[in-house]
Structures are given as C-alpha cells and as structure tokens.
C-alpha cells in the first residue's frame, strides 16, 4: 500500500483516527500524573497532530467554501448584483473569444492547412488611374487556363496548384428550377484541401478530360436542405446547362473555402470555362488559383518560384502580358479568410475585456464597502487566532466563488447569444461556421473567472486592517474616515470613469461613421424601387434577340400592373453584393502603352430608362434611346469618374473606346453622375454603361412602384412564370433594403460597441453612486457638526459633489489621454471620421460628465436630509 493510498485511507477514516489519537493523548496525560500541566493545550495538540495527516489544505478549502457560500447566501443583494455584473462581463468575453478562437486562432480544418495559399496576380499600377479609383482590387488580375497549365508544369515549390471559380447555374431536378451557386474546380481541388467525401467519391483526373461525363459533388448543407440527407442521391441525374450531370459524391460538413457553394463541378462541365475562348487564350483570365506548398516551402519561396515562371512566360508570350508585366504574390489561405474580420473582432474582444475590467472594479468597490461592515467579524476571527494569510485566503475564496458563479452565468449567456454573433461574423468569413463553445473556450472562461475573482478579490483582501485593536474598539457606526480604503475606492472609480470613456469613444466613433454612411448621397434615388435578378438560362436564351424578347414581354406585363410606375433593366442593382466586372479596354487614339500597365474599367449594361428610374442625372450628351439597336453603331455612356479620369482636358463625347482590341468600337454619347455601386464606403469606380438594346445582359429588373415595393414581388413572380415557368427569380429586395444590407456590418458593429459602452456606463455610474453614498455616510457626523455650526445645506451638498467631481474629472482626463493614444486601432472600421474626431470626443465627454454628475448627485443629496442632532448622537 503506497503512501498515496494511505493518505486517502486516513482522509476517509479521519473521525475514527481522531478519536484514537484523542484516546492516546488521554492515556498519556493520565500517565504524566502530576506533570499533567506540561502536556500543553490538548485541543491545539490534537489539531496539530491532525494537521500532520496532510489534508489540512483541503479541509480549510472546504471550510472556506462552506463559509463563503453561507456569507454570499446571506447577502443576496450583493451576490446577485456582483454575479450579474461578472456574468455579463464574462459572458461577453466568452462569446467573443469563441468567435476569435474559431475564426482567428484555430488551425484550418484541413490536412496541414498552413501549407495552403491563395495566389494573386497584380498588374503594375498605371501612371494615372489606380490611385484615383481607390480600390486595391482594381488591378487584381485573375488567372487563365493556359497560365495554370504552365505553372503546374514548371513549379518546384508547389505539390498542387488548383483553380476555382464560382458561378450561378440553373439546376433542374424534376422539381422547381433552382439557381445553384456552383464551384467550378480542377480535379484535385479537394485533394489539395485534404477533404474526404461523406458519401460517394470526389473528383479525379478522369472527370476533367474533354470526353468526361459531367459530374457533380454536393455540399453538405445543400444535400441536407434539398435532399433531406438521403444517401441514395449518389448516381442521381440532374440537368444543368442542357447537359445531364451525375451526382458522384457529397462533401462532409466542413466549412467550404473560399466560399459556400451549393454544388461543385469540374472545369470541363462549366460552359464558360470549357469554351475554346478560355482554353486557348492566355489573356482570358477568369479563375482563382490556390496552391499547396510542398513541405518545407514557404510563402516566400513559393512566390519567387512562381515569379521566375511568370517572367519566363512573359518573354514567350509578350502579347498576353501588360508591358510592365504581372506580379505574382501569395498569402496563406488562413490569413486571407480572416483579414476582413480580424480588426473588428479584436476590437470587440478588447471592448468586452474592458467591460469585464469595469465590472471587476465595480464588484471590488462593492466588496470593499462590504468589508467595512465585516471588519469587526474579521477582527474577531483574527483575535481568536486566524492568521492574516488565512483571512486573505477566506476572502479570496469568497470572491472566487462569486466569480466562478458569474462565469457559469456568463457561459449560459454566451451560448445563448453565440448564434447571433455567428450570423454576424459569417458576413465576413466562411470560418464563422467553425465557431462553437469548445474545450479551449471553456478553459478560457474558467481561467477568466478565476482571474476575475483574484483581481476583484485582491482589493478587499489586502486592504484589511492590520490594527485589530482599533477595529475591535470601534463601534459599528464608526465615523472615522478610513482614508486607506477610500483611496482604493477612489482609484477604482477613476478607472471606471476612464474605461467607460474609452468605450464610449469607440462606440461614438462607430456610430458617427454609421450615420455619415447612412446620410451619404450614393448618386441615385432608391425610393420605392423593387429589384430582382432574373438570370436567364443561357442555354435556352442563346442570343440578344431571345433575351430582349423575354425582357420586353416582362416589361409589358409589369407595366400593365396597377401601381407600377416604371420598369427598367440593369446589369446589377446599386449596392447589391458583388464586385465590379472589370475588363480591359482602350481609348481610340490613346495608345495603351502610354499608360504603363493594364487599363481596366467596370462595364455595366442599362436599359434606356434605367438612369431616369434611378434618378441618375445625365450630365452631358444624351441618354440611350430606342435607336441604339442591335444593328446601330454601338454606343456607351460613361460615368463622371471615368470621364474625368480618361478625358481630363477634353470632351469625352464622340470619343471611341474598345473592350476587345478594336473589334467593337463604342462611341461615348453621354456622361452620367457617379453611383456608389459597390459600397457606400467605397469611391465610385470607372464605369462604362452599354445599351441594353445592344448588349442584352441586363439581368436585374428594377420596378418603381406607387406603394410598398415588396407588395409587387408576387406580381413579378407571376409575370415571369407566365413567360417561362422554368425561369428562377432571385434576390428580390427593395433598393432601400440593399442599401441597409450593405451597412449591416457597420450597423451591427455600432450596436455591439454601443451596447458594451452603455453597459460600461451603467456599471460605472452605479460605482460612482456607491462611492459618493459611502462618502456621505462616512461623513455624516462631520456634516452634522457643520450644519449645527450654521453651514447651509447647499454649501454642504456642493462640498460633497465637488469631492466626487474630482474623481470624475481625473477619470475623464485619464480616459481622454488613453483614448487619444489608442483610438487609432479603430481607423480601419471608420468611414470619413478621424479616430480623434473632436466632435465625438467633446460629445462623449459631455455625456459622461452628465451621467457621472447625476450618479453622484443623487446619493449626495442625502446630506441635505442629515439631521444634525441625530448625526451627532449617532456615535
């Protein structure tokens, strides 16, 4: 039997053993006879012997816990407030940490996810141009099929290079026609990620030859939602793009990268990707490229490897590369997936941390106040032989008990609101799907709870008086000012004011950005307009004529509907999610070589009445007319940014541009106002509008209505189905909704920050109230004397308020200095608002001052009710 088991045996039988020990000692005392008094204090002896068993720490802990629990239950008010404050703080931190952990910390759920990279090709920025356009992505260039073939052949750093692009196709499975987001990938895309199929198989080389049958892999959510998770789906045939597609596999429920798709097909099944255009033209760049680095290779070595290949290709095929060449760079997939959300998440986590800190300070203050009332109890315990360490331990046990309770509450809160947070974050990254309350999160919460307990427990535990005698002598109504405790309390109050100020500044800046974005003139009037996408099935509608026929009859049907004021078509509604379709172009008479790089612009298609319907002004020249038909000379309307940019000193009217090296010459017939098509916070991009009558690819219908536009959604559906029952309609939304959606991220961030700030303000205000109230009660006697000697109540009130004002002003000062130093971290989230925006600082300071004044004035008013006689007798 080892010592360990003996210890446990002793522990379990301690009562019996204690009895036996007592017996031994009794006999010993008897035998000592006359010398009995030499034996010492039998109780103490018994205890010391008992200690020797080595279980003292556990017994003391159990004792402390039991006692602490009793104390907490006896003070339900304090316990409840403290647990609530801590629970909110810890809950917010737990929820945010689980998001940060799932999105930013956890490794990608793929085999050796760190070896996965996203490749990027950029054209050297033209001399004029890019800076003006303000979008970093402007000069991003996709990859062509021929590029990729050469890269694969020549690379030494990559074990796999796989292409990807995403398109919407119409899938017919015998039921309702559905538009599916389709990932078009090369054969080893899933091998590269290291994904194994849930059912069936994934793609292999045999699926990517010209003779291959079209095959599909379904994503887990699509399979679950549309086919009820039926495993017999393998082998089913669907029609897409006028071909039979066979389902060969289902993906496991892993988060999909780079974005969510409903189904996946290989490159040969995609009608665009497999077109001769794509397969044979090196400058037809349309796909994204991902790679798996060989073991030991890094982003740097991979970049130089591809750089060598690209410069070799540039020499071989000079006509397919811009004069300045292309730059290949890469970024780890992990960074790429989270870079948009990282600053916001970290700021939110920091905010939550500060809220918890305020909660800690506040609970510490409460606990300090309670300590004053408990001083006698503690003094008695100390007098009876409890060591200082023992008392500290007791107090820390109590605070830890409290904070662990708060932590539990926080965990419940966090699990309740996590779903909301995940929905929010999924706007920015597909990694949101990986967020859950996992073991590391639980450990984080536990650590945080224990730490919290120690932090707020430390103040009261170590501020204990050492002078027992005084504590014992003092009456319960001690009126002596306890300067020591007060200093800590004032310090805590200063901290609370300072932190609330910082949080309020964060929220204030965010809200200001949001308001600015909301009031921004986006260049169009979206009032009472319904937008919907009608992605015509190009295998059915083969040319301009077919498209125009469909849209014309749709327009007629809709216009016949009462309440419809106008119908127009467009290639994309303003502020609908998406990015510009950039394309190379040249201006006639302006040689491209002058510009040292690729010259790209966004191309849009609009019907002749689209500008009028959207309230976009024609600044010069003319609108599209019915005469701009198929056979008529092709025309273009450019936006103001384009005109200023490419024709700074001349009239753009009647100049000609070409998107295809001279095959099509577009004559500029008009200039229209700029529209913030791709985001309120983004500058307008260079845009060329083509006439719908000539280039019919305007798949977005815009309906101006008399009443609520959403009421017309069913009419739209009826109209479309009456023309073609197989035609899906997607993204039915009003323009106001689209504008609202584009601000959702800013709005939710504002709301979250404001929520945290409000929470902090409330906690800090109660803290200030508490400090002032205590101050008043401590000085009751002094105030009584003052009043008795003839002081005016107003003067006394002013004196008390002045004292709390000092705390507030110091806190405010500290807050302003710190906020000025750290608000810079917010700049990525802000729009048109400097992080040190004076108006925000002034406004927030004013709000905080008012709240703080009220918070200290209310308890201070109690001094006016002090009755000098009673106050003096109170001692």
């Amino acid at each position: 039997m080892g010592e360990f088991f003996r210890r446990i045996y002793f522990f379990l039988n301690q009562r019996k053993l204690d009895r036996e020990l007592a017996q031994d000692m009794a006999v010993h005392r008897e035998m000592l006879g006359d010398d009995r008094k030499d034996f010492g204090n039998p109780t103490l002896l018994a205890e010391q012997s008992h200690e020797a068993l080595g279980w003292g720490w556990l017994e003391r802990l159990v004792q402390d816990l039991r006692y602490g629990f009793r104390i907490l239950v006896k003070n339900p008010g304090f316990t409840l407030i403290a647990m609530l404050a801590l629970g909110l703080g810890i809950g917010a931190n737990t929820a945010l940490f689980s998001v940060v952990y799932g999105v930013l910390i956890k490794p990608l759920p793929y085999t050796q996810g760190n070896q996965l990279v996203v490749l990027k090709q950029t054209a050297a920025a033209p001399m004029k141009g890019m800076q003006h356009n303000g979008m970093a992505s402007m000069n991003n260039v996709a990859f062509s099929a021929l590029d990729i073939t050469d890269y694969r052949k020549q690379t030494r750093a990559f074990s796999l290079l796989e292409e990807y692009h995403s398109m919407g196709f119409i899938l017919l499975d015998g039921q309702e026609p559905t538009r599916v987001t389709t990932g078009v990938v090369s054969a080893h895309f899933f091998d590269m990620l290291g994904i194994k199929p849930l059912y069936g198989r994934l793609f292999n080389d045999g699926d990517e030859t010209k003779e291959s049958d079209a095959v599909l892999v379904l994503s887990y959510p699509y399979w679950k939602n549309h086919y009820g998770g039926d495993p017999s789906i393998i082998g089913r045939h669907f029609r897409m793009n006028d071909r039979v597609h066979t389902v060969i596999g289902v993906l496991p429920p892993v988060p999909q990268y780079p974005r969510e798709n409903d189904v996946y097909m290989t490159t040969v099944a995609c009608p665009f990707r497999s077109s001769p255009m794509m397969a044979e033209h090196r400058d037809h760049r349309m796909v994204e490229l991902f790679g798996r680095l060989k073991p030991g290779e890094t982003v740097e070595s991979g970049t130089s490897d591809l750089g060598v290949i690209v410069s070799r290709l540039e020499k071989t095929y000079p006509e397919s590369y811009p004069p300045q060449g292309l730059n290949v760079s890469m970024e780890s997939l992990r960074t790429r997936l989270t870079e948009d959300v990282r600053p916001m998440l970290l700021i939110l986590l920091a905010t939550a941390g500060l809220v918890l800190l305020i909660a800690c300070a506040n609970v510490a203050n409460l606990a300090l106040a309670r300590m004053m009332r408990r001083e006698q109890e503690l003094a008695v315990r100390a007098a009876l032989g409890a060591s200082r360490g023992r008392l500290v331990r007791q107090l820390l046990t109590e605070s830890t008990l409290l904070s662990v309770g708060g932590g539990l509450l926080g965990l419940i809160l966090a699990s309740q609101c996590l779903a909301l947070l995940v929905t929010f974050v999924s706007r920015f990254t597909t990694r949101a799907a990986e967020v859950n309350i996992s073991l590391p999160v639980l450990l984080f919460t536990l650590t945080l709870s224990l730490l919290t307990g120690l932090i707020f427990g430390a103040a009261p535990a170590f501020s204990q008086r050492t002078n027992l005698v005084n504590s014992l002598k003092e009456g319960n109504n001690s009126a002596t000012i306890k300067t020591d405790g007060n200093r800590i309390r004032n310090l805590l109050a200063v901290g609370q004011v300072a932190i609330s100020f910082i949080l309020l500044i964060g929220a204030g800046l965010m809200i200001r950005s949001f308001v600015k974005l909301q009031q921004l003139d986006a260049g169009y009037n979206g009032d009472h307009i319904l937008a919907a996408n009608i992605p015509l099935n190009f295998s059915k509608y083969k040319n301009n004529q077919d498209n125009l026929l469909f849209f014309d009859s749709l327009k007629q049907k809709l216009q016949a509907t009462p309440g419809v004021l106008g119908v127009a078509f467009d290639s994309g509604a303003p502020l609908a999610p998406g990015s510009p379709m950039n394309q190379d172009f040249q201006v006639e008479g302006q040689p491209n070589t002058d510009r040292d790089g690729m010259q790209q612009t966004s191309f849009e298609v609009a019907s002749s009445n689209a500008f009028r319907l959207l309230g976009i002004p024609v600044l010069s020249g003319r609108n599209f007319t019915d005469q701009d038909k198929d056979q008529a000379p092709p025309v273009a309307i450019v936006n103001r940014t384009f005109a200023r940019h490419y024709f700074p000193n001349e009239d753009p009217l009647n100049k000609r541009i070409t998107p295809d090296k001279g095959k099509t010459m577009l004559t500029i017939v008009g200039v229209v106002g700029d529209v913030k098509q791709f985001g309120l916070d983004k500058d307008p991009v260079d845009t060329v509008y083509l006439s719908m009558a000539q280039f019919s690819m305007a798949y977005t219908v815009l309906i101006k209505t008399a009443g609520d536009p959403l009421n017309y959604a069913s009419q739209l559906r009826k109209a479309v189905f009456s023309i073609d029952k197989d035609q899906p309609i997607t993204d039915v939304k009003t323009l106001d909704e689209l504008r609202g959606d584009s601000l959702a991220a800013t709005r939710i961030t504002s709301i979250l920050l404001a929520l945290f700030a409000a929470l902090a303000l409330i906690i800090a205000a109660t803290g200030l109230s508490g400090v002032t109230a205590l101050l008043v009660s401590q000085r009751t006697r002094e105030i009584g004397i003052r009043l008795a000697l003839g002081a005016q109540r107003g003067e006394v009130l002013a004196m008390v308020v002045k004292q709390s004002m000092r705390v507030i002003l110091i806190g405010l000062g500290v807050g302003i200095v710190v906020a000025l130093l750290v608000s810079r971290v917010m700049s990525k989230l802000l729009f048109d608002t400097p992080p040190t925006d004076p108006a925000t600082f002034a406004g927030v300071a004013l709000v905080l001052l008012c709240v703080a004044l009220v918070a200290s004035y209310v308890p201070a008013r109690r001094v006016t009710r002090v009755n000098p006689l009673i106050a003096l007798r109170a001692e």
């Binding site: 020990l21 008897e30 035998m31 012997s49 068993l53």
Partner: protein, 108 residues
C-alpha cells in the same frame, strides 16, 4: 542546549530507534527517550503526536491496540519493514553529519 530541546529533525529518528526492540505506546516512547538520554532529552508531546501521525502516513510505523500499564486501551506503535529501513538510513546520514561537525569542531 536546554534540557527539553532537541536537534531539529532528530525526533523521528529517536522514535524509530526506541521502537526497534518492540512496540510502545505514546507515553512509553516519550519516557524511553527521556530515560535513555540520561534525562537530558525531553520529548515535547506537542511534537510527538504529530510526528507519530506522519510516520503512520509514511508507513514507517503501524498502530495496534493494546492495554497500558494502567489498564487503559491505547495504541501501540510498531516499527514496519519500511520503518526499519528508514531508521537505518537516517542513522547513517546522522552519523555522517555528526562526523563532519566533530571534524570541524576539533580542527578549527
């Protein structure tokens, strides 16, 4: 050294040593040490019982019920094999330390 003080750390060894010939109860242990030391050493009861508890846990001694000279039921402490080994090693260690001390005291 005052008569009732003991070199720290030596109590355990002395207890083990006096238990070597046979089991004793607490009082007898104290008495035996007192007598054997020519009344020089006085075992503090305050240290004896905690020490015995520790030795029980370590497994160096075992407690058995017996009857005292005064006809009371009392625990007799008995050396175990582990206790014997412990005593041996403590005595060796102590002897070495003592030698060292002697050497210093005589030469310095």
């Amino acid at each position: 050294m005052a008569k009732n003080e003991m070199l720290p750390g030596t109590l355990g060894m002395l207890v083990l040593r006096v238990l070597q010939p046979g089991a004793l109860h607490g009082y007898a242990i104290a008495q035996r040490i007192h007598t054997l030391s020519n009344d020089l050493l006085q075992v503090e009861e305050g240290s004896l019982y905690p020490a015995l508890q520790r030795m029980l846990i370590k497994g160096w001694v075992r407690a058995e019920w017996g009857i005292s000279e005064t006809n009371r039921k009392v625990r007799f402490y008995k050396l175990t094999a582990a206790g014997r080994k412990q005593l041996q090693s403590e005595m060796t260690d102590f002897g070495r330390v003592l030698q060292g001390i002697h050497a210093v005291l005589n030469k310095a």
